[in-house]
């Protein structure tokens, strides 16, 4: 059977395909060579401290002693941060303390001393990570809203952070 001529790449098209394939391979090599893998590390818990019933307590993201802290590694990348925020802290006997996170409760502190960038941790945020050094800081504040009749004792919850590379 004779192949249909239309299915055969012309020499020019073959050259283009070869160049395109080579370019894809080259891009892959550059991406792998640009730095270490994306990483996220927990550095400090978010601590609301000692609360009294009926009195809300806000921790600001620039509170170095009490704000939650993560650091993420990545250089010259665009990433999306997604927080998994607890709606309540859980305490003795199933008691809970509602939490609130909103605009300005998150801070992105890029490496290299650039100004902090405030964001709302309750929504995904897209960030451009600058070049080396590769470690950048994420600071998390929030507000605890204990009811007047809240039970005494210790309360806790888990805050998760996922960083995804938005590949080009």
């Amino acid at each position: 059977m004779t192949p249909t001529p239309a299915l055969l790449p012309t020499p020019a098209l073959r050259l283009a395909l070869v160049l395109a394939l080579g370019l894809v391979g080259l891009l892959g090599m550059v991406d792998q060579a640009s730095g270490q893998p994306l990483a996220a590390q927990a550095r400090q818990d978010l601590s609301f401290g000692e609360l009294l019933g009926g009195l809300a307590e806000r921790v600001r993201p620039d509170d170095g002693a009490r704000a939650g802290q993560f650091r993420i590694r990545g250089a010259n990348r665009t990433v999306e941060l997604t927080f998994h925020l607890p709606e309540v802290l859980e305490g003795p006997g199933g008691a809970t303390i509602p939490l609130r996170f909103g605009e300005g409760d998150g801070h992105f502190e890029p490496s290299g001393g650039d100004p902090r960038q405030a964001f709302d941790p309750s929504r995904p945020i897209t960030l451009s990570l600058p070049g080396p050094p590769p470690w950048h800081w994420i600071h998390l504040g929030g507000t605890a809203l204990p009811a007047a009749s809240v039970s005494l004792g210790s309360y806790s919850g888990t805050v998760g952070l996922t960083v995804a590379d938005l590949a080009n």
């Binding site: 055969l8 009294l52 802290q69 998390l140 605890a144 039970s151 309360y155 995804a164």
Partner: protein, 169 residues
């Protein structure tokens, strides 16, 4: 035929590689804890009045915070939480004659555990911060009252208020 197979293989490789590059996505995650401790509300109770007792006209009388006539407040709250004390002190005692002058100095007040013993003295005229001990403290208050030579006989009284709040968080 050889040329055709070679070209098809090249095309297949390109199709397989481009989507893989576009979909390559790297992710990382980490967790921290969010924590809080709910404290018992702090409270204060007046237990004993500050009693200057019987005084002759023209004489003064000083009551030490370690004296059994000293005033006593009892504070209860959370563990060893720090609290701030703020007294509202009378300048005089009022009664049937001219008011009696009352004064307080840097050692007129004292605090202790809830066992009646003064551990340390302080000035009740200024705010003062201390830590609770096992959820409580006793606060003692003394002072000095002065009478005039022609002071009218009778009973004189005044009110002392102690306000307590948690300090810091």
């Amino acid at each position: 035929m050889k040329r055709v197979l070679g070209s098809l293989a090249l095309t297949a490789a390109l199709v397989a590689t481009v989507p893989a590059a576009a979909q390559a996505q790297e992710a990382a995650s980490a967790d921290i804890n969010a924590t809080a401790t709910v404290l018992a509300n702090v409270s204060v109770e007046g237990v004993n009045d500050l009693r200057f007792g019987d005084i002759l006209p023209g004489f003064d009388r000083t009551v030490s915070p370690t004296n059994s006539d000293a005033g006593l407040f009892r504070i209860t709250g959370a563990g060893d939480a720090p609290v701030t004390l703020s007294f509202t002190l009378p300048g005089t005692l009022t009664g049937p004659g001219e008011p009696l002058t009352v004064s307080f100095d840097e050692e007129s007040a004292g605090f202790g555990n809830m066992n009646g013993t003064v551990l340390e003295r302080f000035d009740p005229s200024s705010t003062y911060t201390l830590s609770l001990s096992e959820g409580g403290r006793d606060i003692f208050l003394g002072g000095t009252v002065s009478t005039a030579g022609d002071q009218a006989a009778g009973s004189y009284t005044g009110q002392v208020t102690l306000e307590v709040s948690y300090s810091g968080s």
